[in-house]
């Protein structure tokens, strides 16, 4: 299939592509050479320091020598397997990005990874499944099941919308991932045997298993190549695609099928290597241009090499009784088709314009404002809810306290220990649930707005990875664990990362797209740095970091909270000041400039504020995933506001996190302790799915 694409990709009219032809053939040469090189390198280099001569001898005359056994029974299968899996993931990534027209989409977004993980968890936990071969089938079926579900949710309206599909995938992934973790929490055996499966290493996959999956991978690859032309048409928009003779619907169904086969198969074998699918298509697109035929083949060629850097990341650590959970990311917006009230004109306070929704206009001699009634009411209600939840949570805990104990502690009349439990232990946690939720919501809103991409949340763009790295360095290398130094490290790390991303992404004005791509790359790099640092650190320090890396509110004390409150006041003030600039940048840079926004400065400042929100929370509580992604999108659907609203996102974030906090207490009392992050993911994810389904039902959009 390589030759077809190579000879066909470029229209060779004289004058047509003169500029790009030589460059492209150079790129192909480069990719093929690199593939060959990595093949040879993979044979030559391994755990055993064999010399090139030994390897060569072992390769050409297979005998009973150690070198020969190693080359033929170990390195050869592993190399071929790596190439196959890398190709599968790279191609699946190219497909999903083309189908959804979203550069942030990776195969995992269709629920492939989470579905596979969930099925394996169920299989192991409930059906006593064991061993690789069993995993493969369960993982594969799980991946397929999740994908189908995502597709169904995405097509509930009159036509399939890629945006809804992406959001549904993200939400479903989050929920399934959360449920898997939850199951493994209940039953640690499952966790122990799945953990290794989930780290995404191919070092131990057996040839037999590959043979089981290979047919699926080949089928998926064939489908992908066959679809390339249709994907090119779909990239031009649904109207043109249809008139170019491409059935948009059919392309989507087949595309999703191909992704399931490819990513499902690869995930079943390895337990999910996310980064390849996300990054490879970008690298390849940058080299080959936007033709899907070239991107798909190019991704197949390029992926095996990039993948290798990610293997062997999860050296097992001694962490009995302590488990880290991967943050979940997700969420993607769609034009909110809020019920149109445009026809019924209703104005609450005197005003002459019909904004299509109820508007509150508040004017005093000194100030004036206009806010959509629904946004105001929803935000206020969410904040009230957040505070209410946090308050109720004060009454819950393992230390038995009566209602009266708590109230008298609050009014300062309780006995010393009781008042300490309430004021020193429980109160900072409750306050942090409200505050951190708001900060995460703000950060998410800023980045989604700046990148014009609902998936553009700080955790995707890599700023929390930067914060994490800095904290790890400070903890491990400097040995400091003071709240202020950790907060400072987190913010510093986040900012440096942001600066690096900004510098790389800046080219006469910044585009959301490039910011995202560079961000993903930086994030992936930092991820590797982090795991390297942790594996290199000695056990106790690593355990300490592991604790912190889990993301939990329960360790927040006043001494960690005070610096966060102080800095976050500054951050929130900055955000309020810059919110108008953010809104005007939604109209494009030209318009923003002519509206008096200093685009460069405002963007830099917003970047700093957005990074700071995430970094602060990361510093105080560890990475808490999903809220930054989900809150703005949930808020938008609830308020029907144009774009993402910072205020509503903050309120939504608060409500989500404090609801999760409360629920974790209730669960702990009724059942067993469950980390807050897990609950956030589950309620946020389920809620998002519900909203999406409701939205699809009422959506117009036959055309889109």
């Amino acid at each position: 299939m390589h030759s077809t694409a190579l000879s066909s990709g470029t229209p060779r009219t004289e004058g047509v592509s003169d500029a790009s032809v030589p460059r492209r053939s150079a790129v192909w040469g480069l990719l093929l050479t690199a593939l060959l090189l990595s093949f040879l390198l993979s044979l030559a280099v391994g755990a055993n320091p064999l010399s090139v001569g030994q390897v060569w001898k072992g390769l050409v005359n297979p005998d009973a020598s150690e070198a020969s056994i190693i080359v033929w029974t170990e390195r050869m299968p592993r190399t071929l397997l790596g190439i196959a899996i890398g190709m599968a993931l790279g191609v699946a990534g190219a497909l999903i990005q083309a189908l959804t027209r979203n550069p942030l989409a990776d195969p995992g977004i269709l629920g492939v990874n989470a579905g596979a993980g969930f099925a394996v968890t169920i299989g192991v936990g409930l059906f006593g499944l064991s061993g690789m071969t069993g995993y493969i089938w369960w993982a594969f079926l799980g991946a397929a099941g999740a994908t189908v579900l995502v597709y169904v949710i995405g097509s509930l309206g009159r036509s399939t919308s890629p945006v809804t599909m992406v959001l549904a995938g993200v939400a479903l992934s989050a929920v399934l991932g959360g449920l898997s973790t939850f199951l493994t929490l209940i039953d640690e055996t499952t966790f122990e045997s799945i953990r290794a499966w989930g780290v995404g290493s191919i070092a131990r996959v057996r040839v037999d298993d590959v043979m089981t999956v290979l047919p699926f991978l080949l089928l998926g690859l064939a489908l992908a190549v066959g679809l390339a032309g249709s994907l090119n048409a779909v990239a031009l928009g649904d109207d043109l695609a249809a008139s170019l003779g491409t059935s948009v619907m059919r392309t989507r169904v087949l595309g999703v099928l191909a992704i399931t086969l490819l990513a499902g198969g690869a995930t079943a074998l390895t337990g999910g290597i996310g980064f390849v699918g996300l990054m490879v298509p970008h690298v390849v697109r940058w080299m080959t241009g936007p033709d899907q035929r070239r991107i798909i083949i190019g991704s197949a060629l390029a992926a095996p090499r990039l993948r290798r850097r990610r293997t062997d990341r999860g050296a097992p650590r001694r962490d009995r009784g302590r488990h880290r959970h991967r943050g979940h990311r997700g969420t993607r917006a769609h034009r909110a088709r809020a019920p149109s009230e445009g026809e019924r004109t209703m104005t609450v306070s005197p005003g002459i314009i019909d904004f299509g929704y109820r508007v509150l206009r508040a004017r005093t001699g000194f100030s004036s404002s206009r806010i959509a009634l629904r946004t105001a009411v929803v935000s206020a209600a969410l904040f009230a809810l957040a505070v209410g939840f946090a308050f109720v949570a004060l009454f819950l805990g393992d230390y038995p306290l009566s209602l009266q104990d708590v109230t008298s502690a609050m009014s300062g009349r309780a006995e010393e220990f009781v008042s300490m439990v309430v004021i020193q232990w429980r109160l900072p946690v409750a306050v942090s649930a409200v505050l951190f939720g708001a900060l995460l919501g703000i950060g998410g809103a800023i980045f989604q707005s700046l990148t014009r991409n609902p998936l553009g949340s700080p955790d995707v763009i890599g700023f929390d990875a930067g914060a994490y790295t800095a904290v790890v360095v400070v903890m491990l290398a400097v040995g400091s664990q003071h709240a202020w130094s950790i907060a400072a490290a987190a913010i510093g790390g986040g900012l440096i990362t942001a600066l690096v991303v900004y510098l790389f992404a800046y080219r006469r004005g910044m585009q959301g797209f490039r910011l995202i791509v560079v961000g993903i790359a930086v994030s992936a790099t930092l991820g590797s740095v982090n795991s390297y640092l942790i594996t290199r650190a000695d056990l106790d320090d690593a355990m300490q970091v592991g604790f912190w890396g889990a993301g939990s509110l329960s360790r927040v004390t006043w001494s960690t909270l005070v610096p966060v409150i102080a800095i976050s006041l500054a951050v929130i003030a900055t955000t309020i000041l810059l919110a108008p600039s953010l809104r005007s940048m939604e109209l494009g840079d030209d318009m923003a400039v002519s509206h008096g926004t200093r685009v460069g400065a405002a963007r830099a400042a917003l970047l700093v504020a957005g990074v700071a929100t995430t970094a602060l929370v990361t510093a105080a509580a560890g990475p808490i995933g999903f809220i930054a992604l989900a809150a703005p999108q949930l808020a938008r659907r609830l308020t029907g506001s144009p774009g993402v609203s910072v205020l509503a996102a903050a309120a939504m974030g608060s409500a989500l996190l404090s609801a999760a906090h409360l629920l974790s207490h209730v669960l702990a009392i009724a059942f067993r302790p469950v980390p807050v992050g897990l609950i956030t993911v589950c309620i946020g994810g389920i809620y998002l799915i519900v909203l999406l389904i409701r939205e699809s039902r009422s959506r117009s959009g036959a055309a889109r």
Binding site: G46, A47, N48, E192, A203, G271, Y399, L553, P673, P675
Partner: protein, 343 residues
């Protein structure tokens, strides 16, 4: 649902623990009178004062290392982590442990600890820097962690731990006795098994195709210590390997020794590895000096050569405490003697 050694009991109702707050008789042996209270308890994170001899002791190290130390000197803690309590501890315990607490991602659940109403909190081998202030507000905290050059170390050395416990609980003699008993046990053991003397041994654990084979008997490791007390020498490569290093197939020759103890944690899939050409090339295999321990940790037993034994040998070898190491040595002796004696 199934459970293994690495897994947990369903947590017992902590409220029940609080109800039973009255001191149960015989939680610890009678005072010896060698310690005078109040006693200052130092730690890298602060210090607390023990006003009088404690009775209700919470042992909060998640891995339960401190439980073994307490039980070794005859003390029954009132609160331990929710992990399953091992056979070698269980068989020395003369009464039930009152309560369990959960360890979550957030760290210790201090409210559960407070609710158990302890009068001493023991934490040996865990870093509680973040929670120390809260713990100290509940009860005095005993830790053996040390500070050097601003870095705190919680490395767990059994003699230190047991001695410290003995002092705090006014049971110094009992502590010395426990350590002596262990010494005597191994002296007897070596005398009984001269065939182990000077032989090299490695201990590896296989976690299945997915996560591979790990080397567990570096000289300072728990298994390494236990093996050397049994009379063995470290294998040739032991000092170059890291504790729990993953041994890739290509490097299998690194585990070779006079005897290889191979613990199978892969649900019976060890043949995937042991049948491979590289594994078969090991001298231990060729010499028939391979001891395969099949872990059935779910049901709490293990199998060597078709014989079932109670307990979890992997965990026993992951400790080098006075109860665990003697127990592990006892369990392995027949099989090892079989292999080495037949030479």
């Amino acid at each position: 649902l199934v459970l293994t050694g690495c897994s947990s009991d369903t947590p017992e109702d902590s409220a029940a623990a609080a109800d039973a707050a009255k001191p149960a008789p015989g939680l610890l042996p009678a005072a010896e009178g060698s310690t005078s209270y109040p006693l200052e308890l130092e730690s890298p994170w602060g210090s607390t004062t023990l006003e009088e001899r404690p009775e209700r002791i919470a042992a909060i190290t998640p891995s339960q290392d401190d439980v073994e130390a307490l039980v070794a000197i005859g003390v029954t803690p009132i609160l331990v982590s929710e992990d399953q309590t091992d056979v070698w501890v269980q068989r020395e315990l003369d009464q039930e442990i009152e309560g369990r607490f959960s360890v979550t991602d957030g760290g210790f659940n201090v409210e559960q600890i407070a609710a158990a109403d302890p009068d001493l909190i023991v934490v040996l081998g865990a870093d509680v820097s973040a929670d120390y202030d809260k713990l100290a507000a509940i009860a005095p905290v005993l830790s053996t962690a040390t500070t050097s050059e601003g870095e705190s170390s919680v490395a767990n050395d059994w003699a230190t731990s047991i001695t410290a416990l003995g002092e705090a609980l006014d049971l110094s003699e009992a502590a010395d006795r426990a350590l002596e008993t262990e010494e005597e046990f191994f002296a007897d053991f070596r005398a009984e098994h001269p065939e182990f003397d000077g032989k090299t041994a490695s201990y590896v654990v296989y976690y299945g195709a997915e996560s591979g084979l790990q080397y567990h008997s570096t000289p300072d490791s728990p298994a390494g210590l236990t093996l050397s007390r049994m009379g063995f020498e470290p294998s040739d490569n032991a000092s170059e390997l890291e504790y729990r290093a993953v041994i890739s197939n290509e490097m299998l020759s690194a585990i070779d020794a006079d005897v290889v103890i191979f613990s199978d944690n892969s649900d019976g899939h060890h043949a995937d590895l042991t049948d491979s050409a590289l594994f078969q090339a090991l001298s231990a295999v060729k010499n028939d000096a391979l001891v395969i321990v099949e872990n059935h940790s779910v049901d709490g037993y293990f199998v060597i050569d078709g014989t079932e034994y109670d307990g979890n040998l992997s965990w026993g070898l992951a400790r080098s405490g006075p109860l665990s190491s003697t127990w592990a040595a006892e369990q392995m002796a027949p099989a090892l003697a079989d292999v080495l004696g037949a030479e």
